[in-house]
Symmetry: D3
Subunit: 314 residues, 6 copies
């Protein structure tokens, strides 16, 4: 992205079309209203302040609105912030659509669909294959659009599918070195492990938790779905229970949200594959924003650590 | 029980019909075979040693066999142990059946059935009532026979149903003091919370965990059952999710095995009702074996504490 | 409360008599003084800002002053806040007294006194009865006025006595189902468990911790008081030690502030009764402020969880 | 000790007068009775086996009996064990008394009394001095005889007083380097911190916990005693509360058994002085049993660590 | 292994040449000496009992002796045990050498050397390459012979080198999927991470911890070695510090023995690669001993879990 | 310090020369720039605000600049803050140097050097003495100037050397009471334990962590230095490993940052000596700022506790 919002530094002047991701109304200490906007494009997002906002402004600048903004970047509590000088809703003539401003997976939906189809095709156990194929078809549309999480990792459009595709490739690579691993179970575990997020989360953008997400959670949701699918397809072998166990145990420990710890070889390894892919995603995005010899921001899900980019890296 | 095995003290001679609960073959340091038997009757159980056991003995004294035993009680590592002097399989003429030797709930199956039926009858929300009634009917037989656990509390025939009946009475008493509590949810939560144990456990006697019990667990098993039941009955309201949540959260915290923490008032209180009833069961049984001024054995699930019986208690 | 401060929503204009609970002086970024007031009435409390405050204002608006206030409610960081437009001290002619503005227990002091007297009357062990009666008389006045805590639960005038009365009723209900429980010990344990708070805390309103509260704590304070009372009354039986143990162990575990864990049946159950009543109090107050289908605010002492009110509740 | 039991190695033959500390009756796998004796003298203690014991033996060899023993030392599970060849009760003519066999503090009771008296004499605050003197007088006899614990450190006759004297010397040395420390508080804290053990423990030998020890504990016992003493002496200043706080907080953290954490400078340092003296006692006794270049046994209260004695130490 | 000791079941008679791994002398309850031997061959190891052992036996059957043994396998506390009927030291004529009985890595030393050489050759950063090559040469002999641990995983001859080779292959596979990873750092981190074990551990067989292993540990040992190597080679760039950090942080967290947590992308991933390879090694060896539908023994370093082998696996 | 910045209270007017320790630029809600300065002199430091700051101000008031300031002290979030009315850079004619404004150790560098030299002189083991002397000479200059930490304790110029001197005196006092302690090891351990901070930290003032400090840490840095020194001096005895162990283990537990727990008597005691001296430093400085009957601020590294100054202390 040539001129994305994340490429601007303190002191520079921004003049861009951006999408409003979030809007909050505030009042200054002296009682004057202002708007705090989160503005985004494909490069990332930045907080912006619109001082002396009128009631009309509040109505005009709702989330999911495209705007044309001019303003100055300054630093507030260690983060860049935009002080808006001029703002107006984009006109149709500007020729933008919302999807122009959303970060998405680096692979297209077609590419991801094709890869997942191929992995399912490679399965040899018909029970595992049929259940996996049935569920991925049932939830195909949201699966290909949802993020993998509301924050932390793969929190972008199609992040869930992209996380699954990366994990499938990683599974294949690992299984080629450890031939005792059952790739049918690994691939099915990868594909199904987070599929319950299409019910746990609200949608591909401005993502929040649904009530069912909060009270039941994606793990139990998918365990139920596997059970129902097996019944619908008339499948009765131990594979059903094993697939449910893979989903149930993929968080590794009770205190990390796993109703059961892994008790199958592939369940143990699935947990590691999930971790490696999620952490690489977090590390890459944090490190690409800093120069050699610098530290990243603290990364909360990595025990709030900062990471250092060696001077001999580019 | 007048003359049960638990009423004998060190130095006394036992002469009783007893049931073999468990048998293990051993070899002494000097290479001679012996059998270790767990012998039980309604009063409880005691470990027994049959020295110089022949291969014939090994075949004759399998679990679930009723035997006539004579022997002396002595103390081994702080616990009473029976040194068998004479043993023979009971003859039909002795007129005993296995159930004569099993500890059971203090209420009859009829009494318990009638109480539970009444509580279900009192429910006012038809969705909650129908799901609960359907599931209790579906698993009625094992529900009325299974223990509530393999050890620690209510680990006797019909222990599960007895635990549920006690908790129902406790729920009613508490709800009468805190009228904001929804008794429909409380009663249904109590009845369903451990019902998955009829699949998690192997049966009413010599109870162990099934493979499904180890890999999926009674909580997830019942959450699935509620989902399937709702589908079969065509019930779609939020009650389904709330009932699933009550089961999912009744262990209170992730590290205590709860896939979700309680997020509904009745879920929070269900967790306490479960605790109070289980702990009263453990405390009562440990304390009734000691005299005023004495301590109980250490009770493992109560943080391995011992409890003291005040001298002014009887 | 028809028109209490808690009944106003964002955007509405308040015009009420209110009590100042707390006052802090501040300075805006631009150096101008302002006052932050916590204003309360029986319905609850709200933070308020008085901008451009003079030194005279600071003297006039001290805690425990009744004021007449006009202002607008707006939202600040997710909580309602009052921007004061007009404020003046209430005149005697307005006819208000401080107690008109304080939240109190739903039972009158007479009702609570009468219930507690009855429970003490029902005790059969004279040693337990005499010690309990002596201590409740010695601290009767503060016991009937103090809150049960500075925040979290029962943090209102007479909250301590109300918490005790609720726990007594709960004890009675539970003991009727588990007849092995010694109601003398349960009732005495309930009445004495938090009585040390009349020394730990500073008073019924604007409650803080005393130095003795911080350095010794209500548990050790009351254990000492029981010892002294027994000596004064010439009581020497084991009951003294058991009552001290009930107080010492009622927080359940060392890490929750219990010098000893429960080692008496009634001590174990007392801990649960305390929890159930405190949590019901927190849950009821949080849930009555939200509508069906909504979540409560996070409740800090309940592991910072939010609770959901099902749509089929009213 | 020239010829103490602890000086014998595997393969050597013992021929000594020893004291029976503990006796347990056992039965071999083949049903023959034997006695396990813990035999001690001033050098330490060793487990011994008397095979083929008669009922007469069982009566003759009760705890606190002095015996003449011949036997061989061999190794059992990494510890030395004595196989008794000959044993008889000592005759009066042998001229031994029980105290000849008990390990005691390296200082005499007179020396310790004199040191403690001197430290109390040096106190300048009369309230602190009077309370400390009163309590040390009240419990003088057991204080001078009891161990400081049932095991782990200073678990010998007069161990409590010896621990206190060492800590007083350590307090003086530290306070001379950090003049802000109030020696009155430090000395009083040291003298009183474990004094409750004279009630918590059963006596100077074969020490166990009393019921009051288990249910109330030495900390709360002494906090009560300080309160009562102050009342008896008519002392009312803040010193009473501070002394109680020193005792209450000397275990440092709630999870280590401290009802309150230290909130006074001298309380914080008292906790460290207690630790240094207890740990030096454990380390010295473990290290004096091994040669340079060897490791000690695992020391349970030091996180079960072993300690290494450097080759350049003697 | 056709006829290895691990292939015998309870009730079968063994007649094999075996290596004594460990010997302990014991005494039965009745005072008779016996020897407990751990006997091994390439298939694994089994405990054996030689009853009524003479002093001559004790001298003859020291560790690292090859013996010819006949005996019966029976079960003792859930594990197979050999009751020796006949035993004699192997004669030279039997034609066995110790290495015939030791479990070794599935790759030859030549194959492993060649793979590691190739990975070092592929490094592009000369500083990293030179330090790694220098250290692997310096410790080449023990590196190729030592186990990776005394127990749990890769605890066989050449286990350390085999663990490193597997991790190198895994690193290459992962880095090909996540191109931001610096393979120079990954390969060097893998090769050096456990190299300090050649000083921490005592040797390739009967492995124990050295004093330096206990007091300093393999991590600090290798960090020092990297520093010294850099100095010897005159290398000064940041690479030295980064290599030290990779070794220092590879246990992931302070409580898992890591002096520093990972703060470099490759350090984070190195920790996962180490885990995956160690766990696959443990899982494969535990699961190959059980049949489909069975559970493995509990695996201590995997949180003491048992693992289930699905019935549809072979 | 007569007129230091820490002696001013809310409402008073400051007119002082001060040193700028830190400067941050900010923007008010209304977009106006201001500077936040941390101003210090020997008495301590205070935050100050310079409103309506020009770009020229930003250049003039960089860290390490001496300024002449007039302003009013007011309270902001419970801490004193200075609102600057007038500020100008100090002129050379004012006759101040930076060191006039820095808090330093209460002992002069000469006094500390002389004490440490004497302690090294008293060592009897030549290996320990030579290594210690070599390292203290190698890092003499930074050792005598650096603080012991960036915050919490001894965070002033020469704080590191002062901490070491205090610990040496404390070691001597303790060793005189426990003669089994090896003073050579204790003194060397004290002198070396934190010496790695001269590489971990950036310098005597405005101290931050270096990259090597973050990635390797002062413990591993010094362990390496000891190894290199021994090599340079041709020393080979076990003393080298023991000195490394003392440094490695002085944080006591893995979770407190210790790569190894103490396994040597002197290592265990070194950990306590370090703690007592650090905590006395924190306690003294916090308590000297409050009056009898008051509490200190919360002290973060002391578990965030506040401490109470008894009314009978001055």
């Amino acid at each position: 992205m040539m001129t994305g919002i994340m490429t601007f530094n303190v002191g520079e002047t921004v003049d861009l079309h951006l999408l409003i991701k979030q809007m909050t109304k505030g009042t200054t200490n002296t009682g004057k209203p202002f708007l705090t906007l989160i503005l985004q494009d494909k490069s990332g997002e930045m907080e912006a302040k619109l001082w002396d906002a009128s009631e009309q402004d509040e109505k005009a600048y709702q989330p999911e609105t495209i705007v044309k903004v001019t303003g100055d970047v300054h630093s507030y509590r260690g983060k860049n912030q935009l002080k808006i000088k001029q703002i107006r809703p984009a006109s149709p003539a500007d020729g933008h659509t919302i999807s122009d401003f959303l970060q998405t997976a680096p692979l297209s939906i077609d590419e991801m669909t094709s890869k997942i189809t191929q992995y399912i095709f490679e399965m040899r156990n018909p029970n595992i294959q049929r259940i996996t194929r049935h569920l991925i078809k049932k939830y195909q549309k949201p699966f290909l659009e949802y993020p993998a999480a509301t924050k932390n990792h793969h929190e972008f459009v199609s992040g869930l599918a992209y996380h699954v595709v990366s994990m499938l490739d990683l599974s294949k690579a690992i299984a080629s070195l450890y031939p005792s691993l059952d790739t049918d179970l690994l691939y099915a575990g990868v594909i199904l492990h987070d599929l319950g997020k299409v019910i746990e989360l609200s949608g591909p953008t401005s993502t929040t938790y649904t009530i069912e997400g909060n009270l039941i959670g994606h793990i139990s949701i998918m365990v139920n779905e596997i059970g129902k699918t097996a019944e619908e397809l008339g499948i009765e072998g131990e594979e059903v229970m094993i697939l449910q166990h893979l989903v149930l145990s993929h968080h590794g420990k009770a205190e990390w949200g796993s109703p059961k710890p892994p008790m199958i070889r592939e369940a143990e390894i699935l947990h590691y594959i999930d971790n490696v892919d999620a952490k690489m995603n977090m590390l890459d995005r944090a490190l690409e924003r800093v120069k050699p010899g610098e530290y990243t921001e603290r990364i909360f899900p990595l025990d709030n650590r900062t990471f250092y980019k060696p001077t001999f890296h580019k």
